[in-house]
């Protein structure tokens, strides 16, 4: 076995040194009653070539090929990824290291994470960002728990129904064993969250909105933050498409106190939904309540600049049950990848790319409306929007699928009454030709 170095002779030398005669004796402390019976039910070892063949067979079971145009976002977005990124990220010094507990030997990782934190803070408009959460959904759950920690005595949180349904499910999972109450905020005709029910409410620790929300709609975050702050709650703003902040105001600049979301858009492949990147930031004041790892700048014995993991008294390995979160391993490789992507895009490129995504989406939105489909929500959108078709769209959808286009996501299973509503997503990867094919098929 090519990963295992042990020759028969090696094993004997080691048995002798240890003073055992065989593996049986080596495992003497494993009681008979705990022993594994027989052999594990796993197929026989495959050579590299048989593995290739096997995985090739599995890949051939994917009828939606990489050449398809998938006009679905809903939390995961197909964007172009420059080849330079996986190429540099693939360097084993990055890939095969672990948590940078020994900072002098991991300055590459640490400076990389510090850069990630900084670019993320700039993108989200927050004072500080951590070194990542598992994904957008768990980040949101942790943000709300953090809101409750900051608020101390309060026991209620409110979350918008226009937040990604899976995110809300994960929040529910995290909150189930607690005594906290979750209030759901409905959305208005324009697709934005209805915050009117908040007014006069009391004991709410935090209110969470998503912008762009699940319908692609840009919330009026400034107004929302004011309304939330008016009831003494923290404003938690989440997102699934950070590219939006190349064009739209950042959540932090709108007044959000905690900002969290999914960073997969930033150079990370869709990959059936994972690994992604939980981006997470907040105001300076709340740093010590933050979950997750933080990298900080410091100096060495000679006064030279360097980076270390810091404020770890928040963390489980120091604080155990009193930690701000149980998170330990995070999404390291994905954070570095996202930083490489942000660095490759640059400020100029990010704006240009965001604008392009916006324009393409508007093109399709307008054209579909002209075919008679109804745009369900009137507020501005980014990248995604919801339309309702007059007739049953499912046959058109199947026809387009046969032509290599996945024409939106049916929302029937997420919201009652949305059976003929579709969430469309258009990124820079989709050409006008493809959009025109969709339009003309809808027109038929």
């Amino acid at each position: 076995m090519r990963y295992l170095p042990h020759t028969e002779a090696d094993i004997q030398v080691m048995f002798d040194a240890i003073g055992v005669k065989d593996f049986e004796e080596l495992f003497q402390t494993v009681p008979e009653a705990c022993r594994y019976d027989g052999e594990m039910e796993i197929p026989e070892a495959k050579t590299e070539w048989n593995l290739n063949r096997y995985m090739g067979k599995i890949r051939s079971m994917m009828p939606v090929s990489p050449d398809h145009n998938v006009l679905i976002g809903a939390g995961r977005y197909q964007h172009h990824i420059p080849a330079a990124i996986p190429s540099v990220m693939g360097r084993s010094e990055f890939l095969t290291a672990y948590t940078p507990y020994q900072p002098e030997m991991a300055q590459g990782t640490l400076q990389g994470l510090f850069e990630y934190q900084t670019l993320t803070a700039r993108l989200l408009g927050v004072d500080v960002a951590n070194a990542s959460m598992y994904d957008g959904a768990t980040g949101l759950a942790e943000a709300l728990l953090m809101g409750l920690r900051v608020a101390r005595k309060k026991t209620r949180i409110a979350i918008s129904m226009a937040i990604h349904p899976h995110f809300r499910e994960v929040v529910a999972t995290y909150f189930r064993p607690t005594d906290y109450e979750i209030i759901e905020l409905p959305f208005l005709k324009d697709g934005r969250t209805d915050l009117s029910s908040l007014a006069g409410e009391d004991g709410i620790a935090a209110v969470a909105l998503q912008s762009p929300n699940f319908f692609g709609v840009i919330e009026d975050m400034e107004a929302a933050a004011t309304a939330v702050h008016d009831v003494g709650a923290l404003c938690v703003s989440c997102f699934t498409e950070p590219l939006a902040f190349g064009l739209f105001k950042s959540p932090g600049s709108c007044g959000a106190d905690i900002v969290c979301g999914e960073g997969q858009s930033l150079g990370i492949p869709v990959s059936f939904g994972g690994p992604g990147l939980g981006m997470f930031g907040c105001r300076d004041a709340f740093v010590r309540n933050m979950p997750g790892r933080l990298v900080g700048e410091t100096t060495d014995l000679d006064g030279k600049r360097g980076y270390v993991l810091t404020l770890s008294t928040r963390e489980q390995h120091i604080r155990r049950e009193k930690a701000t979160s149980n998170i330990c391993s995070n999404q390291g490789i994905c954070t570095l990848t996202a930083t490489m992507y942000m660095a490759s895009l640059g400020g100029t490129g990010l704006r240009k790319l965001a604008r392009l995504n916006y324009d393409k989406t508007e093109y399709l939105k307008k054209a579909l409306q002209e075919t008679g489909a109804e745009c369900c929500f009137s507020a501005p959108t980014f990248n995604e929007f919801v339309v309702e078709f007059k007739n049953d769209f499912s046959t058109t959808w199947k026809k387009l699928m046969e032509r290599g286009i996945v024409a939106g996501l049916n929302l029937g299973r997420f919201y009652p009454g949305f059976d003929n509503r579709y969430l469309f997503c258009v990124t820079e990867t989709v050409s006008k030709d493809v959009l025109d094919m969709v339009i003309s098929e809808v027109e038929k």
């Binding site: 070892a45 593995l51 999404q331």
Partner: protein, 485 residues
């Protein structure tokens, strides 16, 4: 140090990203627009973030240079205890990055995802086979996330029995994530002291376990590298009181094909795919922490899992008793692909060999190093052995100094100061992918460092010397945090 592989060579300095670049440069292609510009809602629009503009070469050099300041398993031995830093096979990277998988969208219907679902399904099956448990969810994104899933299952199980239990038994050798995960579910950890043999003793559990207590979290082999020999008896006691046994399977690398977790009495267990199953997790992740349970708890597992009816793979229907969704989609999917590739490459026999050789390597190091470093528990070990700086303290040399000196010698240091029960702990886990020669060199180097601790202790206290930076001031970092540039 003669025999040590560490030497000095050229590396390149490099500023922070935003200390580079010039406005207007670009590092990636952006397609020309083929649609008309749409009007934008001015009120909502911002200026975009202040990112530097770099060109591709600047980006590539930046990260190439940063990488020179790092050390990975491919660079050399990385005996970071409890972390199982084994070799990460290259072929698995290729499969995880295959376009068909990389582009697979998780919101498509099952009929469009047969390949991706099959990978999850097979992994569920094989992880069940490896642990001896019955049902698996791959959603948890890391070990701690798996623990949380487990604690949620504990909570849901007791709730389904109409109970709300408030405590959980927690050995003092437990990893910090265990109490933190339990706390998230409202369980107050009841600490259990390790006995003088380094393992749990039955009497203590019998004393502490009661019907307020949800169960116990046991890491097995534990973080001292010892097999919890009394686990079955302990499980019986816990079960008698209506409790459940959680197994932290982070150290599964020691016992694949050797111990059966169900026979050990474990009800819920997480695995660390990024450790035992060889997936890379540079800079701290991503991991994957699938949670495995016995039959009676299958209904509580996070949903959805993948089912197979002999023809079609499907996301299972809504399961009301489930603890619910743990992740936006199916966990760290790319990590799952790599883990499946690893399992398929190894097969049952090699996986067992992995554990045999992992324990063989650790036992060999233990025997050879205990002459030089104080061994915390001189008993047959599993995949790792915990030493300490006890013998070196008289020279005013600490575990930290030894660790830093090891760095100069070309080794990643072991895990230090954990587990907490061993003061000045030095926790060494070589893994099975290190050769006898490599171990012998490491032993030689440790021996030399131990000698230096006596003869030239300042060499250790001033270490490291070979890196871009000397010893960094962690106190200053925490006192005046600079977290953003």
């Amino acid at each position: 140090m003669n025999s040590a592989p560490g030497q000095s060579g050229l590396i390149m300095d490099e500023p922070l990203l935003w200390e580079k670049g010039k406005t207007g440069r670009n590092g990636m292609s952006i397609p020309e627009s083929d649609v008309p510009a749409a009007p934008i809602p001015d009120k909502l629009c911002g200026n975009g973030p202040d990112f530097p503009d770099l060109y591709e070469v600047e980006v590539v050099r930046h990260y190439t240079r940063l990488s020179q300041w790092n050390f990975g398993v491919d660079t050399g031995m990385y005996p970071l205890g409890s972390c199982t830093m084994k070799y990460n096979p290259k072929i698995n990277e290729k499969h995880a990055a295959a376009p068909e998988l990389a582009a697979a969208h998780p919101m498509l219907g099952d009929e469009y995802c047969q390949g991706t679902l099959r990978i999850i399904y097979e992994l569920q099956q094989y992880l069940a086979a490896i642990t001896g448990l019955d049902a698996v969810s791959v959603q948890p994104a890391a070990g701690a996330h798996g623990e949380l899933a487990g604690m949620l299952i504990f909570e849901a199980y007791h709730r389904s029995n109409g109970q709300k239990r408030t405590k959980i038994l927690m050995p003092d050798t437990a990893h910090g994530t265990n109490p933190a995960s339990a706390a998230l579910c409202g369980y107050k950890p009841v600490p259990i002291k390790s006995g003088n043999r380094g393992i749990l003793n039955v009497g203590q559990i019998r004393e502490l376990m009661d019907e307020e207590t949800a169960g116990i979290m046991i890491t097995n082999p534990n973080t001292l590298g010892l097999f919890e020999e009394n686990i079955r008896e302990i499980a019986e006691i816990v079960h008698e009181k209506g409790g459940l046994v959680y197994g932290d399977g982070a150290n599964m690398n020691a016992v694949m094909g050797i111990a059966d977790m169900k026979k050990c009495g474990v009800d819920v267990l997480h695995l660390n795919l990024h450790k035992t199953f060889s997936t890379p997790h540079g800079g701290g992740g991503p991991g994957a922490g699938p949670v495995c349970v016995v039959d009676k708890l299958a209904g509580f597992l996070p949903s959805p899992r993948v089912e197979f009816d002999g023809t079609t793979y499907r996301l299972e229907a809504y399961r009301p008793e489930s603890v619910g969704r743990m992740h936006s989609f199916h966990g760290n999917y790319g990590v799952l692909v790599r883990a499946l590739c690893y399992i398929l490459t190894m097969g049952a026999q090699n996986l067992k060999k992995v554990s045999q050789y992992a324990v063989l390597n650790a036992s060999y190091l233990k025997v050879k190093l205990k002459e030089h470093l104080h061994l915390a528990y001189d008993r047959p070990c599993m995949h790792e052995a915990v030493f300490s700086d006890k013998k070196q303290l008289e020279f005013k040399v600490t575990t930290l100094d030894i660790a830093k000196r090891l760095m100069d010698s070309g080794y990643h240091p072991p895990t230090i100061y954990f587990p907490l029960v061993v003061p000045g702990a030095i926790m060494i886990e070589p893994t099975e992918t290190e050769s006898l020669e490599e171990l012998d060199t490491f032993i030689e180097v440790v021996k030399q460092i131990v000698t230096e601790a006596r003869t030239t202790p300042e060499l250790l206290r001033n270490a490291p010397q070979r890196f871009k930076v000397k010893r960094l001031d962690e106190t200053q970092a925490a006192r005046k945090p600079c977290l953003c540039g």
